[in-house]
Chain length 146, copies 10
Amino acid sequence: MTKDEMRDAILDAKKAKGTTWEALGAAAGLAPEFTCSACLGMNSLKVEPAEAVAQALGLGPDVAAALQEFPHKSWDKLVPTDPVIYRLYEIVGVYGETIKEIIHEKFGDGIMSAIDYSMDIQKEENPAGDRVVLTLNGKFLPYKSW
Amino acid sequence: MTKDEMRDAILDAKKAKGTTWEALGAAAGLAPEFTCSACLGMNSLKVEPAEAVAQALGLGPDVAAALQEFPHKSWDKLVPTDPVIYRLYEIVGVYGETIKEIIHEKFGDGIMSAIDYSMDIQKEENPAGDRVVLTLNGKFLPYKSW
Amino acid sequence: MTKDEMRDAILDAKKAKGTTWEALGAAAGLAPEFTCSACLGMNSLKVEPAEAVAQALGLGPDVAAALQEFPHKSWDKLVPTDPVIYRLYEIVGVYGETIKEIIHEKFGDGIMSAIDYSMDIQKEENPAGDRVVLTLNGKFLPYKSW
Amino acid sequence: MTKDEMRDAILDAKKAKGTTWEALGAAAGLAPEFTCSACLGMNSLKVEPAEAVAQALGLGPDVAAALQEFPHKSWDKLVPTDPVIYRLYEIVGVYGETIKEIIHEKFGDGIMSAIDYSMDIQKEENPAGDRVVLTLNGKFLPYKSW
Amino acid sequence: MTKDEMRDAILDAKKAKGTTWEALGAAAGLAPEFTCSACLGMNSLKVEPAEAVAQALGLGPDVAAALQEFPHKSWDKLVPTDPVIYRLYEIVGVYGETIKEIIHEKFGDGIMSAIDYSMDIQKEENPAGDRVVLTLNGKFLPYKSW
Amino acid sequence: MTKDEMRDAILDAKKAKGTTWEALGAAAGLAPEFTCSACLGMNSLKVEPAEAVAQALGLGPDVAAALQEFPHKSWDKLVPTDPVIYRLYEIVGVYGETIKEIIHEKFGDGIMSAIDYSMDIQKEENPAGDRVVLTLNGKFLPYKSW
Amino acid sequence: MTKDEMRDAILDAKKAKGTTWEALGAAAGLAPEFTCSACLGMNSLKVEPAEAVAQALGLGPDVAAALQEFPHKSWDKLVPTDPVIYRLYEIVGVYGETIKEIIHEKFGDGIMSAIDYSMDIQKEENPAGDRVVLTLNGKFLPYKSW
Amino acid sequence: MTKDEMRDAILDAKKAKGTTWEALGAAAGLAPEFTCSACLGMNSLKVEPAEAVAQALGLGPDVAAALQEFPHKSWDKLVPTDPVIYRLYEIVGVYGETIKEIIHEKFGDGIMSAIDYSMDIQKEENPAGDRVVLTLNGKFLPYKSW
Amino acid sequence: MTKDEMRDAILDAKKAKGTTWEALGAAAGLAPEFTCSACLGMNSLKVEPAEAVAQALGLGPDVAAALQEFPHKSWDKLVPTDPVIYRLYEIVGVYGETIKEIIHEKFGDGIMSAIDYSMDIQKEENPAGDRVVLTLNGKFLPYKSW
Amino acid sequence: MTKDEMRDAILDAKKAKGTTWEALGAAAGLAPEFTCSACLGMNSLKVEPAEAVAQALGLGPDVAAALQEFPHKSWDKLVPTDPVIYRLYEIVGVYGETIKEIIHEKFGDGIMSAIDYSMDIQKEENPAGDRVVLTLNGKFLPYKSW
């Protein structure tokens, strides 16, 4: 079973069961964001959460096994088209240099890791319109001389 | 004075004065992230913060005027090369679909605005290595039928 | 049923029935432009218009369900090739800066939303040749400082 | 004087005079949208409006002459980055096929001209937030067999 | 039947019958160039020539129907690779500015339509080597001010 | 003097003199289309027409010499943006396969040369709107086996 | 049978028979390089060599017929990746201007044809390592004025 | 003195002196093709040929020094536009797979080096039109297992 | 059996057997890195290691034969997306000029071969976090004049 | 002083002094590879090595200051053209998947850091031709779940 087949099987089962990423994350004992990324094929799960997710969806051991495979992270479009994702790309374009300046000011020369990384999405209720609060948390990695 | 000339003048003055985005934000009465983005030419300031920034840097009214111009937001590279900014681009590629799934689960069909938007960067101290905490806060905009 | 399969089923049924977007929009209680965009897979319908469209086309509940899914908006060509669509792209290239200038003059710094948005296409009869009148109506979103 | 030099001279004079596209259009006896596009170098003016625009801005006959030159319409980015213009590009991507369907339904096989074309931008006041109303008006050109 | 299936059916039948575009054009009562472009899926035919072409090829009403569909004009390569077609692309690159200069000199500011358009290909016999004479005939469309 | 400097000098002198490509072609004893392409830097002239063109424009021997240099034919945009030139590009995209089919039917396997080539642009008066008649004439070059 | 199917059939039969391009060229009465290019679908053969090649490979008349079809020459990668082919691309990049200079010096303004063209590959034995000798032979085509 | 400045100085001096690559190669004691490539900045010369070339052109020691610098080989266009160079690119596209097949047949798995490489251009006189004979000679480099 | 089918068969068998590249390399008598690259379709094996690999995986002679075919080395993305591979691409971008400088300093004008090449990957244990040590070993190829 | 100006000043002084990266690294107390990358503007130096490098080259405090600035790492070509650097890019394309497989086998799911990274280049003398030994050493960063 490839990661693509796994993804389709999970999304079909999730729709049929009417379950949520929130519930699947709880089943896995992990954040819904991480659980979702693994189900979409962009991360791997350890054996227990993999089996818990498969079981919660009523899917078999081939799905649990596929969830444990190390993924090949791939995307097709240099510039994403879906508006949800494009807005994130636009934020990188508009605010990327700003983020670089502030990180350098607070930490020195280095980067925010995208590997030692976690992410959280919250709904902030607001009478002027609810807000998406997306928190990216990555380890600072300093450049070293040698 | 173009936005590019303004940017160079501000960065030179900031280095000569040894000041920080933190201090410039305080002078402007705005967040350092927003102040920095305006100084880099990616946002405009109202008259008072524009004058406060120029004054804090010992720069003249042409800089204050340029800070108030509506910017043309532009970037050259479809895929950024600087590692700080590339990691953000990679996060959009790896986690973009995940973010879309979670937003749809929590809010329904719609997007996180990149216009009605704010952003905050904190340093999280951690014995295993300090962490960058980058919080993106954008209004949820639902698709409407008509 | 994927959005692509839904789209093909709808276009086939529409041709077989000899019906129009005008009629399908009336059945849905929505504008023909919005109804068409949902049938092409670029927007989602609420349950009642989705069922009305499926029924008007003699299609089953899988189509009605697929119409309610949140779409992934995607296009393949950075520069469109079909002349109808290329002319719109050319208008963006030729008149984009003009539109930006006029919006800034009338509204200040901000954008026209493509999400809180509607669109209308009319035929203007004219002895020198009929004209297409395409009206785009989007909420103005001002940039905010923070 | 090249079109680029003309553009810069006009934008500088417009800012210095504190005038508007509305006023410059009135001086030219043309719509502000068309007048603006000519001042940005994307269209040419006949002799009288060209001289009227130059005079309204206190600029010389070289500007009036440059306004009458036939332009070379050029843009650099296949995908625009400024959010105002990108949203228009996104509308072409998301709704291009819909517009093609509706034009074909109302007119038959053909296109909306981007040459025999006019454009109008209005501010629609709305308590839920003002709206940009952008009307594109182009002659329908049918494909002919031969 | 899609346009692609139609195209394959026509090219197969044309080869099996050993017929020519010349003959198919005569059957349709249209130029061979236009008939060929419709058979390749780049133009649509009215009902009578569509039925005449299908009949001349011994093909059924599905082909005749597909020939009447409004096409989606699409090509894959920004720069064509086949040498026959690349040479045309090269001519556009090398002589495009020249053609623009001469059109402006003879007609004023405007374009040659690619919609209100016809095309003719002749063989010019020549002892130094026969020549291809390709005549493009498009309506001049002047830019208008508004 | 580079070809670019030559081009600018010629276009400036042509505008100042109020002369035409028609007249410059007559001075050179060549077609206006070829003369224009050489003045734009895309072809070279032999010594006599080069001197005749320079003289007709009141320009010096450096221009005459530059006109005789072998050009480096170069263009920047894979897809042209100016509408006059884009329409030609669109014709190559829409009709390229048709032209290939007809050339193969009339001549066999081979191409129309873009080197042993000439081109002519005429204005066809027409009460429904004048037409541009663009004739491309290239030697047929057959593929040979070896 | 498409050219792609023909190619696969020929490569499979060639491997099964353990034959060579050298032998297939001899069977066809043509150079192995040309025969190979036709078998890969990049050139067409006349009826006799086509039948000879098919017969030498024990393949049927559909292959012989497909070999006679006029090819559509197509490649997918603007920059080739296979190291054998990339090195040729690199030679064009590094030495293209040199080749242009030398051709102009020896022949005047014009090109080496890629149509009236042949090619030969030899193995040059050399104690320091054998060498590939690749000879490209194309007719010089001079630019003509008109 | 950069390689670009060196190149311009050499091309200017070569034109002023009316000399040839043939003569410059003879002065350097090297092939005209190699000498030309070094003068264009794509190869480096040892001290004696560098001084000989500079002297033959009446240029100073800065040119001789620049000729000895190790070049950065760079080209701007993925697909070349000048017809002389494009035809070489087309040959790589059309015949690249053929060359790969023949090299593998004659030599086994490996490549023709573009580094341990020489090149020769001859004029072959021919009553049907002179021919360019371009010979590429590169060491065969076998892949090795390890 | 194509190289792609071979690759899938090998990866499936490797997973089913629970074996490693280390073990497969030992079976082949080659480095695990080279063995892996051949199994992924990027290199060819001689007959004995090919048969040893097939046997170690319990696969048939078609796999052994496919391993001996000369590969067509191909990759799809100009810029890789998987983070493991992107980091290597980033190293080429950030340190490519440095590597060129140091090679020129130590060896003179020339390159490191990617053909006469081997590669080794080791795990360096380190209390601050284990390290990947990737050693690339390629023959220096000097440019030669001719 | 920008990083580009710094780079030019350093390269000029290095050539004028006839010094080496080896010597500059020794002066800085750092590896020549790291020192070179900082001098090319791709890394920053701390104050002492920055001053040591400037002094070793006879350059002033503006160079020492520029060496300490945090760099913006940027490269222009998605696919490098210089053969030294292209070969590295080719290694990433050909062996990237192999490296990913071996890293996953030895370390689990994660990457080799390009930030916590060092690099070493040695000359390996070899009678069959000297070899470049390029060692990349990066910390392994495991993906973590959250």
